[in-house]
Symmetry: C2
Subunit: 341 residues, 2 copies
């Protein structure tokens, strides 16, 4: 492996000069610079990033902390797009992304500690926000550059990028109400995720505002993945009074719901209308196509990465603690059955 010393020797200069050529130091003559550069080219020199990091105390690497397995499944499709957003921003900015996942809930903190205190990364992007998330607390206490995609409960000072999930759910519910639905249910996800709480809240607000009753048995909570759709629907449709429309927390879950309904012989939107969240690529291709709140997934990732890099490079330029990515409702067939005349 060719080092800076080899270059120095070949060029007849000192290692420091070579180093200065690389970093375009102002006191290097044009002649020396081009000579050294030529030799670097010829010998195929690539700086050893570990050595560089050691002295600069900077790794040009960010960690992406994936949610724990259980939650990862739920929202799988969402993440691809999110990662694309992150990478598209970070790569040109010169940062590499370390993709990390804890083996179990227990080593989650340890995993992050190793990276953070071991100075393996310059910053962290957290991908899943739980209520009382110990990771968030830790990172915020350490004042380690961190951006959270999602929301946390007020106390911790941490930068975040999020949607206005409460409003988004309000909009989704409102959309159904405006079409005359009064019996609207909510299919949620793991209740310890802040997203789930927020969307639930928005749903409730819209319902209350319209003087509609929120029935407890129309709210299906828990870790309903795609596969849970059938079970969930069997339950909902077995009720004496059934909802005529559903707000579903995630497109993948909506696929499950749709599938369950189809198996049970119900038609969407005729028998039941559905609005969902995240607007993954495939929801447009479902039958029927699923109405979904586009949360700007790509933007979410892109912005988080941008924010984190800025926080690292120029902390003072950060004036906004929390960035909200606008959402918008994409109406498709799954919610287009009006009960109004």
């Amino acid at each position: 492996m060719v080092t800076i010393k080899d270059i120095a020797r070949a060029a007849g200069v000192s290692p420091s000069t070579v180093s200065r050529v690389i970093s375009n130091h102002s006191r290097i003559s044009a002649k020396t610079s081009s000579k050294v550069k030529k030799i670097m080219e010829e010998m195929g020199y690539h700086p050893n990033m570990m050595a560089k990091s050691l002295v600069s105390k900077t790794t040009k690497t960010l960690a992406i902390m994936l949610p724990r397995p259980a939650e990862e499944l739920f929202q799988d499709f969402f993440f691809g797009e999110l990662l694309r957003g992150i990478l598209t921003q970070s790569t040109p900015a010169g940062y590499d992304m370390l993709l990390t996942a804890a083996t179990s809930p227990f080593d989650e903190k340890e995993t992050v500690s190793r990276l953070v205190f071991g100075r393996r990364v310059d910053g962290v992007i957290l991908l899943s926000a739980r209520v009382d998330d110990p990771l968030i607390t830790m990172l915020s206490e350490q004042q380690f550059p961190t951006v959270l995609i999602g929301r946390t409960d007020g106390s911790a000072r941490i930068l975040s990028v999020d949607n206005d999930n409460e409003q988004a759910a309000y909009d989704a519910t409102r959309h159904l109400i405006l079409q005359g639905h009064e019996r609207i249910g909510f299919v949620s996800g793991p209740p310890n995720l802040t997203v789930a709480l927020d969307r639930m809240a928005g749903y409730r607000r819209a319902m209350q505002e319209a003087n509609l009753t929120v029935r407890a048995d129309w709210i299906v909570e828990g870790e309903y993945l795609q596969n849970g759709g059938y079970r969930a629907m069997t339950f909902l449709m077995s009720l004496h009074e059934r909802p005529s429309a559903l707000v579903v927390i995630d497109d993948a879950v909506a696929f499950g719901v749709l599938h369950g309904l189809t198996e049970l012989g119900y038609k969407v939107p005729d028998d039941l209308c559905i609005v969902s969240f995240n607007n993954i690529a495939l929801s447009e291709l479902a039958s029927p196509p699923i109405s979904s709140i586009d949360v700007g997934t790509y933007q979410l990732g892109y912005t988080a990465s941008q924010m984190l890099i800025r926080l690292i490079q120029d902390p003072d330029s950060i004036y906004q603690q929390r960035i909200i990515i606008p959402h918008r409702l994409i109406v498709r067939e799954s919610s287009l059955f009006s009960l109004r005349i």
Copy 2:
């Protein structure tokens, strides 16, 4: 930041002793060891990984080289599962994954060079195999630890994990033939991917073996993403002689095809049968559920990671250049319309 020197000072020993405590050197007394460990615990010591890497010439990091944007879209859902497989293996093995994507086809080589020659990573997992892939050539020439998920054209000596895509496509096609179909088309992806070539070959073999004609206009090639489904179907169904069944290269594409057909008023499987590849989670939840070749996506990732780590740690233990993950056909409704009586 607390360093090894701080620990040494606090414990009244030399830095080398602390280092040896960490690595469980045999010549360290139990007394010293426990004393030092206690202090490390108290002071919250975490070794600086950059310093460690510099001397050990090892980073405990692997790069995952994502396909270029255009190809990334195609197969988006497949990757999530693949990444899960990789991470599940690598994390407990003590390796971190660097997720890298080239900004453009042109800096692809440069991006990898930076990581490889800059000793940023110990190995590389390549996620997409193109015909005559320059990356593969480069890495194989450099003898840099690399595992390819997919196949390359013989010349380069490189470890790989793959499916028998030819056989898989043969099986898929055969499945349709056995149900009496004679007019079978093939919807492919970007033709410069080896997967596409292999699957096409298997399709042709099955057709020839059954003495069925492969009609050029029943083969839709090109970068048909999910969205291309409508266009592709409009074309296929406008033909005078139409296929009665299709082999589709990827589930996401199949979703597009399905959607296109539905929009045009055709029914699957009644009007057209479909078999596809990859068996992503959602294909079970499509309407109708899509028959798909399960390629063991998770296994693919898991095995690739395992193989790479072994290659790094103990090259001599590698006896197999190429590992084939078994596939299996999952028959669902989309292909369950028999033309046989």
